[in-house]
Symmetry: C2
């Protein structure tokens, strides 16, 4: 799926991993376009001074980043190799974008004059760089791929609606395509995106009972419009600052996909995102009779829009192929052997449960089509059951610690609403407040740390 | 289509320009996959030392580039804003990739052990940075988007075949999708990619009679395999260096598209790449009767896979809309008015010739479908006629200079085959050898500069 590269913290996404990302990206892109968004492309570099324009943003993003200081190399006058040309120093350093609010709002300034120019509903697929000290493939890398939506609106309400709409798009994608159940919620002020008024999140639970922030959608208020002086004339001909949102998901989702469904034999892919949905394997190896049956099955499946491949490598044995395709998480395997063909049946195995069934050739396409639907649903149900079993209500700090230690998962507990308490709990337990769920019931209680009154439970967890 | 940005030499590609690029990218991607290639992703950064590994490559690429020297910013201890943290200096500088041969071949080293691992047929869609001093939107920008294919093969012949296959894919794409005729050829040693054994090119001619290098495909021999020690065990269990190709086209193609077809009213887009192929405009403004007819026409066109939009903005007048959509190069405009509807006809205008025709509602879908084919063909024919009229044979330096000055275009002339002569002609005239066409007839002649014997004509031009 991915390798570490020669460059610290940067990964190489191998073809199979990238094919999964392409499927995720294409589906998300369709959902963005269906909700009225268009794509554009903004510069990789951000002038250093831009980062300090928005006061909170600078603290969150202007620290660990890649800084371009020179624009030329030259042959080493003192020996071998090449060195930086000291005369080619940039007047102002450029930062490789860690996120693009600043450069985009600096551009929107030229694009927005009146309410007629609004809303702007723009997304960009891009690579970004954050100089992470501890990296982990897909989950936390210095460079990663993502999409970042940046929208501009005439009213606060419209921007809030957009923020929630995109949160819902992310949740739908996670649940219906990745088969990964998520909790929609809002972040505490301490966990907000630097420069946001509100940060919404979808939080998933991995199989090791740790949480994963899988996507965020930010209501930015007028903060960036003020920082970059982006005003518009409203319908009454009065100048106002523009309202903003931004929202993003990244290649981190590939990590989420892996850690939600994998088992001891390897990857388990939900059919809707699998680059290959069905793999056909000849038993024990290809020959004319088997190939003819395979052609027929492949044509039937392709006609249904199912992606299918035939592993006809004569040098590898079926057992080796079974293991290899299981490792790749291919949802359905069809083994076709001559003895089965005499009975006009083939053997169909599903990756999620490893069940094998003898299925008549007649109607194999309908069978597989339904099986893919069943697997998609089963993966979601299985993950949701695990996730639901790992939301634990606790009412004391001792209980909190012991659940965190022995069971993990989300812990639903009362919190007094202060950043001070949040940070103390984090320091004591490494658990953070993942979110305040959107559908949270109001309930009077006492903060597990301070005993101060609380009106609702929030979700804590150890997170990636 | 695009704007300059706050960052020197970097452009913002606006949504409409990016939608065209998405269509180009998607079509190219299909063609790459149809020829057996897969996508992957390699790091944005290249360790400085990698660039010096391949001796010729370093001269060509290690000069004007973006150099990352630090990984942290901090609050300015002496005042406002943020400054580079001097303690966060990288041990080895990182270069923002100007092209990825080095980092990719360093990766292939781990991926290739035996002939069974070959060929590797990998492509990446990426942004790259070359610190150009003189920039021009789409044609020459510091950052640009491109794809770079990097393949690895067991034999020289296979790599050469791949190089030519991809050249042909590019030529097919340019001619059949962009409606931009190209000449396939090979570059002179002086114009070769740094590190290549042979560079093949497709060369187009813009309407100002200047040439545009629209895509290149390189046979890299074993140069990068040797530089990065990439060997494989062949079928006889002997170690050999791997053979390589690389090939790329970029957002420069958008510039080529614009400069091949535009006219005084703006862009003219070939139907196969137009984000919107048909725009419907109500005359003079939308009402129930017109809307009903529009719904019918749109449904018919969509059923044919034609992308169609309805500009029902009641605040803008038809003339304004006509001009706007002409500027955007939308291939077909359908004006629907009540008086026409009484006669059961609509007015269809084609962007390329500006002809308007009254067309019966009955069969409008077939009519438009054929019209889009005709426009695509007409754009190609028109561009090819212009290009063919601008290939001029000359046999003396005086004639060369006068054609270059008065007519421009490609000049077909004898050249003695030396880099010295090539550079002298360039110095005198600013014209370069664009290529030696692949289908070049052999013909004895004398070099226009030195009078030395020559066996074939080559194509000179002033180029972007």
């Amino acid at each position: 799926m991915a390798d570490h590269s020669a460059v610290r913290g940067c990964m190489v996404i191998k073809p199979y991993g990238f094919a999964i990302w392409e499927n995720m990206r294409d589906q998300l892109d369709r959902m963005f376009k269906d909700t009225g968004h268009v794509n554009a492309s903004f510069p990789l570099f951000i002038p250093k001074s831009f980062l300090s324009r928005e006061a909170k943003h600078v603290d969150g993003f202007a620290k660990e980043c890649a800084v371009v200081t020179h624009h030329r190399l030259m042959n080493n006058p003192d020996g071998e190799g090449i060195v930086v040309d000291p005369t080619a120093k940039l007047e102002e350093e450029l930062i490789v974008r860690p996120t693009s609010e600043t450069i985009i709002w600096n551009t929107y300034k030229d694009w927005i004059q009146s309410y007629r120019d609004l809303p702007l509903l723009i997304n960009q697929w891009a690579n970004v760089v954050r100089w992470e000290m501890k990296t982990r493939l897909f989950l936390r890398t210095a460079e990663f791929h993502w999409q970042e939506g940046h929208t501009a609106h005439a009213t606060s309400q419209e921007a809030v609606d957009e923020t929630l709409q995109m949160l819902n798009v992310y949740a739908t994608f996670a649940e219906e395509y990745m088969a990964m159940p998520v909790i929609k919620g809002v972040k505490t002020p301490n966990e907000r995106f630097a420069g946001a008024e509100d940060t919404y999140t979808i939080e998933a639970l991995m199989q090791d009972a740790k949480a994963l922030q899988a996507g965020t959608s930010h209501f930015l208020g007028q903060n960036f419009a003020k920082a970059f002086e982006v005003k518009f004339l409203n319908e009454n001909n009065k100048e106002e600052f523009v309202w903003a949102t931004s929202w993003g998901v990244s290649t981190r989702l590939i990590g989420g996909l892996i850690m939600t469904h994998s088992d001891d034999e390897g990857l388990v892919l939900p059919p809707k995102l699998a680059p290959t949905q069905v793999m056909i394997i000849p038993i024990p190896k290809p020959d004319d009779i088997i190939n003819e049956a395979v052609d027929k099955v492949m044509a039937l499946l392709k006609a249904k829009g199912i992606s299918v491949k035939y592993d006809d490598d004569p040098k590898k044995r079926p057992g080796f192929k079974f293991a290899e395709h299981e490792m790749h998480g291919i949802p359905v395997r069809i083994a076709i052997g001559k003895r089965d063909l005499e009975k006009n049946v083939v053997e169909v195995a599903r990756r999620d449960t490893k069940e094998k069934t003898s299925v008549p050739m007649e109607g194999i396409d309908d069978y597989v089509e339904q099986l893919l639907v069943d697997i998609q649903q089963n993966l979601f149900d299985r993950a949701k059951k695990y996730r639901d079993e790992h939301i634990t209500k606790v009412d004391s700090l001792e209980e909190f610690k012991s659940v965190l230690k022995d069971k993990g998962g989300f812990i639903s507990a009362h919190w007094d609403g202060t950043t001070e308490t949040e940070l103390k709990i984090k320091e004591m337990t490494k658990a953070t407040i993942r979110c305040i769920p959107l559908d949270n019931p109001k309930e009077d209680g006492k903060c597990i740390l301070t005993g101060n009154p609380s009106t609702q439970r929030v979700l804590f967890a150890k997170a990636y």
